[in-house]
């Protein structure tokens, strides 16, 4: 196959556009899930809140302003076709330039700080982009952006369980993480989780699980069954929208699994607030 060229300039422009548009436009599947939650919710107060969230998403889209003031750190999942040749500069620098441009031109909040445990100085442009690249067949470049807010990210957890803890241990870890998080991650949440892999891989898979359309069941029947059980247990916690007490704590549980070391049972949880922003462009 012939090599296809993609310029860094095109990558920068796509990244900038993704930053702005993803922050202002709630994906249709997330909006539909919020509608379903409002219909199903038994608490009147939470129904009111869910109505506010739908109105908020509509205002953001109409006025072209961010859904939430926490426009996040900027995470990119990249699928890079192996027949692509990137020209005219450095790929990562192009993504950073796109983030800086998007967060400035789009009036998005810059939340990236240098010197995390001392100076905590705002970098002023939300860089660096956090980039995960998969090399895939083909001659296309797919960029998916997921701006991730601090409130939900702070509630993440990794458990290196013993194999003896098994399926029940996995369930308990995930449900306990949601219980501990309570109102903080801005429920109704989407629960991204992963089982298996090494520690860092498990965390990454938990985040990747959030990219799936809301409520679409997991890749195989066993995972889908566990997701169903988890969603039921999580909604039985009674946390509800914003933690005010209700039946709709999570819109969905999305799980990915991976082969695991014979000594390990890794489980990771990455919670996503209701402003579940992500968007893709294929170049």
């Amino acid at each position: 196959m012939a090599i296809r060229e993609i310029s860094c300039d095109a990558i920068r422009a796509a990244a900038a556009q993704l930053c702005i548009e993803s922050n202002c436009n709630l994906p249709a599947d997330v909006r539909a899930a919020l509608e379903r939650a409002r219909e199903a919710e038994r608490s009147e107060l939470c129904r009111e809140i869910l109505g506010d969230l739908l109105e908020n998403a509509d205002i953001a889209r109409r006025e072209h302003i961010p859904i939430c003031q926490d426009t996040g750190l900027t995470v990119f999942f990249v699928e890079l076709g192996q027949d692509v040749h990137i020209t005219g500069g450095d790929f990562r620098a192009a993504l950073d330039a796109g983030v800086a441009e998007g967060y400035t031109k789009g009036y998005l909040r810059k939340s990236s700080l240098d010197l995390p445990f001392s100076g905590r100085k705002n970098r002023g442009d939300n860089t660096p982009a956090i980039v995960y690249t998969d090399i895939v067949p083909g001659d296309r470049l797919k960029l998916t952006v997921c701006p991730k807010g601090g409130g939900s990210e702070n509630m993440s957890a990794l458990g290196m369980l013993t194999p003896a803890q098994g399926r029940e241990g996995v369930k308990r870890f995930i449900v306990d993480t949601v219980r501990r998080a309570g109102a903080n991650p801005c429920p109704p949440i989407i629960v991204g989780c992963a089982v298996g892999g090494t520690a860092e891989q498990c965390m990454l898979l938990a985040k990747k699980a959030l990219l799936r359309p809301v409520g679409e069941p997991g890749p195989d029947a066993e995972v889908a069954e566990l997701e169903r059980e988890l969603l039921e247990e999580i909604n039985a916690l009674g946390i509800g929208a914003q933690g005010f007490g209700g039946t709709q704590t999570a819109l969905a549980v999305h799980m990915l699994t991976h082969p695991v070391h014979l000594a390990s049972l890794s489980v990771a949880v990455n919670l996503q607030c209701h402003a579940a922003r992500h968007m893709s462009i294929t170049l």
Binding site: R42, C68, Q69, D70, T71, R109, C186, G245
Partner: protein, 178 residues
């Protein structure tokens, strides 16, 4: 209950509120997050009068040219817990954020007859429409984390912790826990 209240919040108004009440606030709120709290707690004289004041935990997006302010929803309040008893001692009457507070904050709310309200987390676009004027009052170098003076009209909030020990997170969740 639903109340329309004006800020600064009088002791009398604070005493009426109960966890679960919905309130629409009109008046001045002052924004402050982590670093601003650290600085305020170290200062003798504040850039605003603390008596009966309302503090809103938020770091807004920058305002586009034709707007008063960018999206301006609440941030997680627990990060301010360490400073809050000091802030309440200075006379602040009303705190606005999201998420659970520590036991020492709840005790200080009872002691000082103050209230903790939640604004809807993740509804920053909607909440920005309630802000009619905004200016940076102190620590401009903190950018989004500076202390802003916001004039709000009918800012919708929900009472979480009232003056007499009520806690919506505890009560509401217990009612729906299976």
């Amino acid at each position: 209950m639903e109340y329309k209240l004006t800020l600064p919040l009088s002791e009398e108004d604070a005493l009426r509120l109960r966890s679960g009440d919905r309130v629409l606030l009109t008046g001045i709120v002052y924004t402050a997050r982590d670093e601003a709290h650290e600085r305020l707690c170290a200062m003798e004289d504040w850039p605003f009068a603390p008596r009966d004041a309302a503090i809103y935990y938020t770091g807004p997006c920058p305002a586009p040219p034709e707007r008063v302010i960018g999206p301006v929803g609440p941030t997680t309040s627990a990060r301010m817990d360490a400073y809050t008893p000091t802030v309440l001692k200075r006379g602040v009457r009303c705190l606005i954020g999201k998420g659970q507070r520590s036991e020492s904050v709840k005790a200080a709310l009872r002691e000082h007859k103050a209230v903790y309200l939640a604004a809807t987390g993740g509804a920053g676009a909607l909440l920005s429409l309630c802000v009619k004027s905004a200016r940076v009052l102190a620590f401009p170098e903190l950018g989004a984390e500076a202390v802003h003076e916001l004039y709000v009209e009918q800012l919708p909030c929900t009472v979480i912790n009232d003056c007499c020990g009520g806690d919506l997170y505890a009560e509401g969740q217990a009612a729906y826990r299976k």
